[in-house]
């Protein structure tokens, strides 16, 4: 029987996060995402060189609104971001960390760019995994702290975000100068994702250094919108549109843990996080930022079986 094989025109670009000593950084290895030559896990049709990767989310301050279920795992380190990061790496085998600098937000402590840059420098010494660095969500504040952190990690090839349509220039310039990658965030909209990628690459940052944050909703809270936006963008990428051929990063943990279900029970929250991640992986997610260590362990098992590794 003749199967129906798509002849795709183009592959997703490969983004490398982290730099080893040989490459001018201090990470013990690099993490690569993207490079898919077909839709999720259709191996006979095209190569899928890198499995999806799960990053652990770590904050610079003790989160006030995290579920008590997560307290069980991080409660002892919430007040010490360095210990928190180390626990993720040592105890939970985190391959990559995502540091959210929430404490810089005017409403959450208003930490200065010096403080944040210092923290990031210490973090580089404490752990040797590649880093994702996120701002606090306040544009003017992020335009101060992110350049400082970018400089403090120069040469480490971090992934830094988020750049948005009306605030991308400062971050792009820093990322470009310091040799990092950037997260381009668009509000569940393929056209804006495309436009923003063009704007950023027009400033000289190659498309191969951009990761798209399509803005996801959790299971039961608009998941299907992101699911379809990701499918559409990926189809366009494989069909030859270079400007959306970036890997996707999905902030699964933050969305799953603020649902009502997660608030009702820890077990329900864990499954909510796992199933949100599963569906997004099937829509093409490359990097997933998650919270519950057990959920992350389960997802890593799932990814291994998907990639054909026997457990």
């Amino acid at each position: 029987m003749e199967l129906v094989l798509e002849r795709w025109q183009q592959e997703v670009s490969i983004v490398t996060i982290g730099a080893t000593k040989e490459e001018g950084g201090t990470r013990s290895y690099v993490v690569r995402v993207g490079g898919e030559k077909t839709l999720p896990f259709l191996f006979p049709e095209g190569e899928i060189p890198y499995p999806p990767v799960i990053a652990f989310e770590v904050w610079d301050i003790a989160p006030s609104d995290w579920s008590t279920e997560l307290n069980k795992y991080y409660g002892d380190v919430f007040n010490d971001p360095l210990a928190w990061a180390e626990k993720c790496v040592k105890q939970y085998q985190a391959k990559i960390l995502c540091i959210r600098l929430q404490g810089a937000h005017p409403d959450f402590g208003n930490k200065t760019s010096d403080e944040e840059a210092k923290l990031i420098s210490q973090l580089l010494k404490k752990v040797s995994v590649p880093l994702i660095i996120l701002g606090c969500g306040d544009d003017s504040k992020d335009n101060l702290i992110l350049p400082a952190c970018s400089q403090a990690t120069k040469g480490e090839r971090c992934l830094i975000g988020d750049a948005v349509q009306d605030n991308y220039k400062t971050l792009t310039a820093s990322v470009l100068a310091d040799g990092h990658n950037i997260i381009a965030e668009s509000p569940i909209d393929v056209n804006i994702a495309k436009q923003l990628n063009i704007l950023i690459s027009d400033m000289g940052l190659p498309l191969e250094r951009i990761v798209i944050n399509p803005t996801i909703g959790a299971l039961g809270y608009g998941l299907e919108y992101a699911y379809s936006i990701m499918e559409r963008a990926r189809l366009a990428a494989l069909s030859g549109d270079k400007t959306v051929a970036s890997p996707f990063i999905c902030f699964v943990g933050q969305e799953a843990w603020r649902t009502k279900e997660a608030k009702v029970s820890g077990e329900q929250g864990l499954i909510w996080e796992v199933i949100t991640a599963t569906a997004l992986i099937q829509a093409g997610a490359d990097l997933l930022v998650m919270r519950h260590p057990v959920a992350i362990e389960k997802m890593n098992n799932y990814i291994k079986t998907l990639m054909g590794v026997s457990l």
Binding site: E2, V4, F43, L223, I271, V274, T278, Q282, L306
Partner: protein
């Protein structure tokens, strides 16, 4: 697959005799393609052409019904590869495998739990669909368990046994409930074909290879057995995704009728997380029926929610009727909260208002099913629109105060809204989760 006007034209006599009432065969073909006329209008169609035309109007993936009455499950009749292209039509049936070597009381307990797996979400009832009884022991035990299950659940049934005699016995008891029979294979095809025909019950056909599967369904079709569900057996996840994708592509894009049936997937994993993630994968990727073993509420609720998400209509967001909804024992002192008529938004707000135990009115403004921020950006949630709704729904007559709570995300419209509506605007929280605390501290 639907034929184009030109495809149809090629099948016509091309004599332009006008007997169909059209000036040319081409004109007639164009109308046929639009289904605006019946093909009977042309007296000169060849038998071959008639057959092709008739086939082209059949759905590419057959709709199969399992069960009877209220718990009937219909799967198949899908038309697209991706939900954004149109929508996925028939949500996959979710069912539970019950082994017949469990003892009776354990089976009953399980069924009790399964029967209660019903959830309400954004105004829709989410429920499970099937119980599959799997034979592990002798014929008598299988039949006994089928009887026990049938007596204790209204759900549609799947009979899993390769023992023809056991199937026949079981069907005598539950045949009227139109169970799904699992399964015909290369080795027992004739017998199971006969069984499906005699009892008028749908049949699962299994083969590892698509080629063989396709041959088997053709043979069954030749014996007039057409109520089929197909299955490619136990495989690693990625291979299963490949099979499901190929079957869907072949049916839709190559009009391969021999694979144009809903697909059954059995998830046979002992680890509950592997089971749930695998089931979620197949729900997302084209399965028609997914059978699992685990019945924990948390897992099933997550799977049913995912199914609802993936099978929702991307063109038409779920909406509720725009009006004023009293929540709890409202009085003329109850707060009035304004939101959109996007189901997800409304039900999220509703749940939090209920949780707050503060009786309130929720005014759902017609935003054509858009969420707060989207509607605001699209000018469907403006001071004018909100004012119109409040007046239209006579909110003034319901309360003796003058305060209106709006979502935190649209705080910028406060001044404008006060001016237009004459109400005093109070800015509520951005996220629904903040509503209980907000309402408790709200003094009107």
């Amino acid at each position: 697959m639907a034929l184009s006007g030109l495809d149809i034209y090629k099948l016509l006599p091309k004599t332009n005799c006008r007997e169909c009432g059209f000036v040319t065969c081409l004109a007639f073909a164009m109308q046929l393609a639009k289904k605006a006329v019946s093909m009977d209008k042309c007296p000169y169609l060849s038998i071959e052409a008639k057959r092709t035309l008739a086939e082209s109007s059949l759905p590419a993936i057959k709709l199969i019904a399992i069960g009877e009455g209220e718990n009937k499950l219909e799967v198949g009749n899908e038309t697209v590869m991706f939900r954004h292209e149109e929508k996925f039509h028939h949500p996959p049936g979710l069912g539970f495998i019950i082994e017949d070597n469990l003892d009776d009381s354990a089976i009953k307990k399980k069924l009790e739990k399964i029967n209660q797996l019903k959830f309400e979400r954004i105004g829709q009832e989410l429920k499970v669909n099937l119980i599959a009884i799997r034979q592990n022991k002798d014929k008598n035990r299988f039949v006994e368990v089928v009887k026990l299950v049938a007596e204790n659940t209204p759900l549609a049934l799947v009979l899993m046994s390769e023992d023809l005699a056991a199937q026949e016995e079981a069907l005598k008891l539950v045949g009227v409930r139109r169970p799904l029979i699992y399964h015909a294979t290369q080795d027992n095809l004739a017998d199971f074909a006969q069984l499906s025909k005699d009892r008028a019950v749908p049949l699962v056909v299994s083969a590892k290879e698509l080629e063989l599967l396709s041959t088997l369904t053709r043979e069954l079709n030749n014996q007039a057995v057409t109520e089929l569900v197909i299955d490619t057996g136990k495989k690693p996840i990625a291979e299963k995704i490949w099979d499901l994708t190929q079957i869907r592509r072949l049916a839709l894009r190559k009009s391969q009728r021999s694979l144009g049936y809903p697909v059954l997937v059995i998830v046979d994993a002992d680890d509950p997380y592997i089971e749930t993630t695998e089931a979620a994968t197949y729900i997302s990727k084209y399965a028609g029926i997914v059978l699992i073993k685990g019945i924990e509420v948390e897992r099933v609720m997550a799977l049913l929610t995912l199914r609802q998400n993936i099978y929702s209509d991307p063109q038409k967001p779920l909406q509720i009727e725009p009006r004023v909804y009293p929540v709890g024992q409202v009085t003329n002192k109850s707060p009035v909260l304004v939101t959109t008529n996007f189901s997800l938004t409304y039900y999220t707000v509703l749940a939090e208002v209920e949780a707050s135990k503060v009786p309130s009115y929720i005014v759902s403004v017609d935003t054509e099913g858009m969420s707060v921020l989207t509607a605001w950006a699209a000018e469907k949630f403006t001071p004018e629109k909100i004012t119109d709704s409040i007046n239209k729904f006579n909110v003034r007559e319901r309360v003796a105060h003058n305060q209106l709570v709006i979502p935190g995300y649209v705080a910028v419209m406060s001044g404008d809204l006060e001016e237009k509506s004459g109400w005093e605007v109070v800015v509520g929280p951005k996220e629904a989760a903040g509503i209980p605390a907000f309402l408790k501290n709200l003094y009107l």
